[in-house]
Amino acid sequence: METSRPVVVKRMPEKLNQRESRKFFQDVQPFLTADRPQLVFDLAQVKQLDAAGIEMLLQCVSEVMKRDGDLKLASLSKQAEIVLELTRTDRLFEIYENATEAARSFSGFLPNAMRSMPSYQQPIAA
């Protein structure tokens, strides 16, 4: 049965161009390569997202999926939302209003009794 594996919430930078994307990917790599990682990317601050940023997001989700984990997006800024829609990548991610909701969604498959436990799966801000 699932136990309290941590949910990592990572805030994305304002610009996600090639350089920043590479830097961000290096930052999150330890979390991606963990066993069954549970990640949430908070895109509230993202003002500029280009093809390199999208590619990095796809690379992250691919890495996470390989390890049987999941990556969810939260608090999308208008800019990020528009670019994700333009590049048809919005349908590849689960998108939530805010990081708390996204983190809570990882416990979605558990029985109702476990979901109501207050100590269960507190998100860790990275």
Partner: protein
């Protein structure tokens, strides 16, 4: 009767207190009247409407800054005068005086913000019947910044123009606007104008040949085999649409655009010289000058990545040069890509492929199994 027209462009509407927005009536800094709808700038359509009603002497007093869209909108048969935005109304007063001195009996002054299908004959008749010095045109939702001025009433005209076509010295009955009117306050209104034209709510005709019912294609447009054009839609002159693209739901692609392979344009407007990259989904948006305004999200984004959206050079020489440069860059890029993929294939082939002799649950739990990329998109827990 000597009737002349003064069209004032590039100055925003006078807003009611508290209703302000800096970007009103513009898209990326260009007034919406200079932008094309179904192949022609809105300003041209206003001028043509006046010309059809026998008004030949038309002067444009422009306060907008130079841009490729403005160059498109200039016409040789009308007098065009550029001014600083702050001097536009003073220039309009001078132009009225010059026209009156040259013998104009009636001058129609309009700030071209809204697109209004005005019955000019009825307006002039109303003005003459009322014996007014000035007649303003009013729509249901407020004044339209259109006035008919008697040439002999310079003081009244000066007062009105000084007050930006909003205040009269002596009150007079207003002419009620009947017919199609679009305020053109935002990109959404520009999009609505295109949709209304497709739905025959306006008299605007697409500037191209109707190749199929509801599909208009302007001359010199190059549409690759495999492109789907779903009515109603419009493809402008010199536009290139590459294979696998889909243009649908009242989309208008203006002149000199490029839509790369596999992209979908749905209920959107692509302004002239726009490039849309490969495999993209453009929905409910207006694109131009490297900017994308999403009407569903009510937000404008500047796209820095030229592989997604960019603006093509305005002159044909520069466009040819950029095509040549991209062709030159294509060949070495393909060689490098081919070399890299061969190397990867070889290294994969050299990897030993040994199957485990027996299944060990402990090892299976420790090492997460590698899945092929095609399977990586599947969710373990369904659509959570």
């Amino acid at each position: 009767m000597d009737v002349r027209a003064i069209l004032i462009t590039g100055v925003p509407a006078e807003l009611d207190a508290g209703a302000g927005s800096e970007s009103i009536e513009t898209f990326s800094g260009t007034p919406l009247v200079f932008l094309p709808v179904l192949g022609k700038p809105v300003l041209h359509r206003v001028i043509e409407r006046l010309q059809r009603n026998g008004i030949e002497a038309i002067t444009i007093i422009n306060g907008a800054e130079e841009s490729p869209f403005l160059t498109d909108a200039r016409r040789s048969e009308v007098k065009w005068k550029d001014f600083d935005a702050s001097d536009v109304w003073r220039a309009a007063q001078e132009e009225f005086s010059d026209s009156a001195q040259a013998g104009a009996e009636i001058v129609i002054a309009m700030r071209v913000g809204a697109y209004a299908e005005l019955d000019v004959d009825a307006l002039l008749q109303f003005h003459l019947d009322q014996h007014s010095h000035i007649t303003l045109v009013e729509a249901e939702d407020g004044p339209l910044d259109i006035a008919v001025l008697s040439g002999s009433r310079r003081n009244d005209a000066t007062f009105l123009l000084r007050n930006k076509l909003r205040k009269l010295r002596v009150s007079s009955p207003a002419f009620p606007m009947i017919g199609y009117c679009n305020r053109l306050r935002s990109a959404a209104d520009l999009r609505q104008l295109a949709l209304d034209s497709f739905a025959l709510r306006t008299t605007i005709q697409p500037d191209g040949e109707q190749v199929r019912p509801g599909v208009w294609v302007a001359p010199k447009a190059r549409i690759a085999r495999g492109v789907r054009l779903v009515a109603p839609c419009f493809v402008g002159a010199y536009t290139r649409i590459r294979g696998g693209a889909l243009i649908t739901r009242g989309s208008t692609i203006e002149h000199h655009c490029v839509i790369d392979g596999g992209s979908v344009v749905e209920n959107s407007t692509m302004l002239p010289l726009s490039y849309l990259g490969k495999g993209l989904d453009l929905m409910h948006s207006v694109v131009g000058s490297k900017k994308l305004e999403s009407l569903s999200h009510a937000a404008q984004v500047e796209i820095e990545d030229s592989s997604l959206i960019s603006m093509l050079p305005a002159t044909s020489g520069l466009r040819t040069l950029s095509h040549a440069a991209s062709l030159l860059a294509f060949v070495p890029r393909q060689i490098v890509r081919h070399a890299a993929s061969t190397k990867v294939r070889k290294s994969r082939a050299e990897e030993p492929q040994s199957a485990p002799a027996s299944f060990d649950p402990a090892v299976a739990c420790e090492v997460a199994p590698e899945r092929p990329t095609a399977v990586a998109g599947m969710r373990r827990y369904g659509n959570q």
